[in-house]
Symmetry: C2
Subunit: 409 residues, 2 copies
């Protein structure tokens, strides 16, 4: 017997037919004594349609965040009721519960709520009576009982948090890919599906550009100690299990994967008098605008004149605002110039195995120089090493690094 | 200052534009200190669309009544959130509350729930803070917190019940007609809009075929002592106020209105031995199938042989089942024959004024015979007199009776 939470996204439940197929699939895998909780998102384009409706009332409906939550939470409520009917039609007792009915309590930050705690009494009661329990993802309620949505990645987070509250054996996240790969399989044809990966590595890969899982739900899994099984909606194969530590021999690879991110821009502030408080000013101003900064490098290129350069990267979407802020500050402190380079991509290796394996950076850079790929700005974290390469070379770079660490047998 | 509950049906809120117009209309009538609660139904065809979606999962989705309630309650939740946004866009603070958030507790009879009690703490708090409060009609929740819909006429009932819980000054029901008329204005061009009518008369008129208001909400109004103002969505005119007693002189009309019902069928069981328990058997069997029986007449046409006839009417929609049941019973007790007449319509006069005015029946029948309209089966209640006429004569009958009691000045 196992207690399993299974999460399906909006595209998996976008029609009555798909909902019935998901119910059939779940029943085909269910062992007689298994307790199953299904977490679902709103059907297909429902959320967009509701937002469109609200836009007809006010061009900027997100001004009214509480009312947007009142509106948008109906989306999942529709899909849970239909999913429950699908199970019942197939002869399996089932019941749907909204986030509030499942005991999911959030703060009152509408449209971007955080789960405060889950009291799953009702869920446990319904599971114990032999029902499959279908819970609306992406939602809970605040102290007043008002509906609150969880914001981006919220459905995965709901699923993992519910699994934690129920002390489930694991949480299965069904997606359109069949697991986590050692590199993006669309770029590296030698990429392999991992059987396991640690939370820490998965978070680092997500931060460095792999978009299989939102970091938020992985953090929740780590916090609550719930293994997360990432697998495909379309096949019955085992996917990748994200957990605290490896349980299987994974052939002792020192790195777990190669990540990349094309959507970065390099900003360099050159010729700053080193006694100005430039770093603090820059990063505080960017943080105020919620702009994340990565790969920070400072170099003092002329010790005598005490002049330094400050280089860092930001996400492409943050670039226009970041560049504006930086140019103003640079002018104010009399920096020589600001150089912006959009023709870059970040390539990274990630793995807890690199702790105590000092040769990893050398092997990575060796692989790049061996294929005549120049690199720029290098940065490291505890379990990753990243560098920038030219945009048009990033696929070649990913393959070169991947072949170095995961040789084709 | 007044506390007013205003109810708008689905056709009044079927698009974003209509929702904005309703909000504008409400604000144009609002006095600065008025406290306003708005009760709304689901937008236009939403409920039908949701039922259609459920039918794609199971051809008979109403088998799963709890899940249907989970599904259908989303309809009003969408309209309340949009209505709240509309008020806010117009500069009026507003908040939407689902039935459960408004404190509407029901029994657990899904799809046909009854309101048990209302605890309007939250509603009062929001009104006191200056907000217009928009509440989802047609819904509440049971002891578990599960959504329950109120069934037919439920939105009007919600509105009146909320008005009662808030001790509102009155409840306004906005409809596509502008009030209650002395006869159906589509049939009688001399029909006049009433300023007032009592609950008792309104209930009797509804029972006898006038469909301006569902009896259920009128009963609720009577029970809670809430005056109900029936008025038009499309004009600003005063409509008709339904209340316990008249507050205005209404020129001493002895009857309040003429009702009609074309959708009735007469069933006659002829030649029954009078010592059989035929009445009990017939009406018990019909009641078991939830078939309402009206205008019951028993006549003993041959005292010597002790043989009787039993005549009554049923609604057209109940006719096939009723006729089947009656024919079987008639055969069992050896009645001579069963005669069915579908070519009938019921015409009635209603008014508390007829208590103590013995000449009403004579005037009604005089008006009919004066225009050569034959009548059949006659029945009376405390405040009404009904008879059957031929289908093709019922409009003529309504006009003849109306002109008798409401002479054109």
């Amino acid at each position: 017997m196992a207690l399993i939470v299974k999460k399906f996204g909006g595209s998996s439940v976008s029609s009555a037919e798909k909902i019935i197929n998901i119910a059939k699939r779940i029943l085909s895998e269910k062992q007689p004594d298994d307790k199953i909780v299904v977490v679902v998102s709103a059907m297909g384009d429902t959320t967009d349609e509701l937002i469109n409706l609200a836009s007809q009332i006010n061009a900027d409906p997100y001004k009214y965040k509480r009312e947007m939550d009142m509106l948008l939470t109906t989306g999942e409520q529709v899909s849970i009721s239909l999913m429950a009917m699908a199970f019942k039609t197939l002869g399996q007792e089932a019941i749907s519960l909204t986030g509030p009915l499942a005991g999911i309590r959030t703060d009152a930050v509408h449209t971007k709520g955080k789960i405060l705690d889950i009291t799953p009494k009702r869920v446990i009661k319904e599971l114990d009576s032999g029902k499959v329990v279908i819970i609306a993802g992406f939602q809970g309620c605040d102290e007043l009982g008002d509906p609150v949505t969880l914001g981006r990645g919220g459905s995965d987070t709901s699923a993992v948090a519910i699994a934690g509250a129920l002390k489930a054996d694991f949480c299965e996240i069904f997606t359109d890919v069949d697991g986590v790969y050692t590199a993006d399989p669309r770029i590296s044809k030698n990429a392999r599906k991992m059987q396991e990966i640690t939370y820490h590595e998965m978070l680092e890969m997500a931060r460095l550009g792999s978009c299989v899982m939102q970091p938020r739900s992985v953090e929740m899994g780590k916090l609550l100690g719930i293994p997360i099984h990432v697998r495909s909606t379309f096949t019955m194969d085992t996917g990748t299990i994200i957990r605290e530590e490896y349980t299987m021999e994974e052939k002792g690879f020192v790195i777990r994967g190669v990540s990349h991110d094309e959507k970065v821009v390099k900003i360099a502030i050159l010729g700053i008098a080193n006694d100005t408080d430039m770093e603090h000013m820059v990063f505080a101003s960017l943080a105020e605008e919620n702009i994340d900064v990565d790969m920070i490098v400072k170099s003092i290129h002329n010790i005598e004149k005490n002049v330094a350069d400050l280089v860092f990267t930001v996400a492409e979407s943050d670039f226009p605002l970041a560049s504006e802020i930086v140019k103003k500050l640079a002018e104010r402190v009399g920096a020589r110039e600001v150089v912006v380079d959009r023709d870059v991509a970040k390539v990274s290796v990630v793995g807890v195995g690199m702790l105590g394996n000092p040769g990893i950076a050398a092997r990575m850079f060796g692989a790049l120089s061996g294929t005549q790929i120049g690199m720029d700005v290098i940065s490291t974290s505890e379990i990753s090493i990243s560098c920038l390469v030219k945009q048009d070379l990033f696929k070649k770079a990913v393959n070169a690094i991947h072949d170095e660490f995961f040789p084709v047998e």
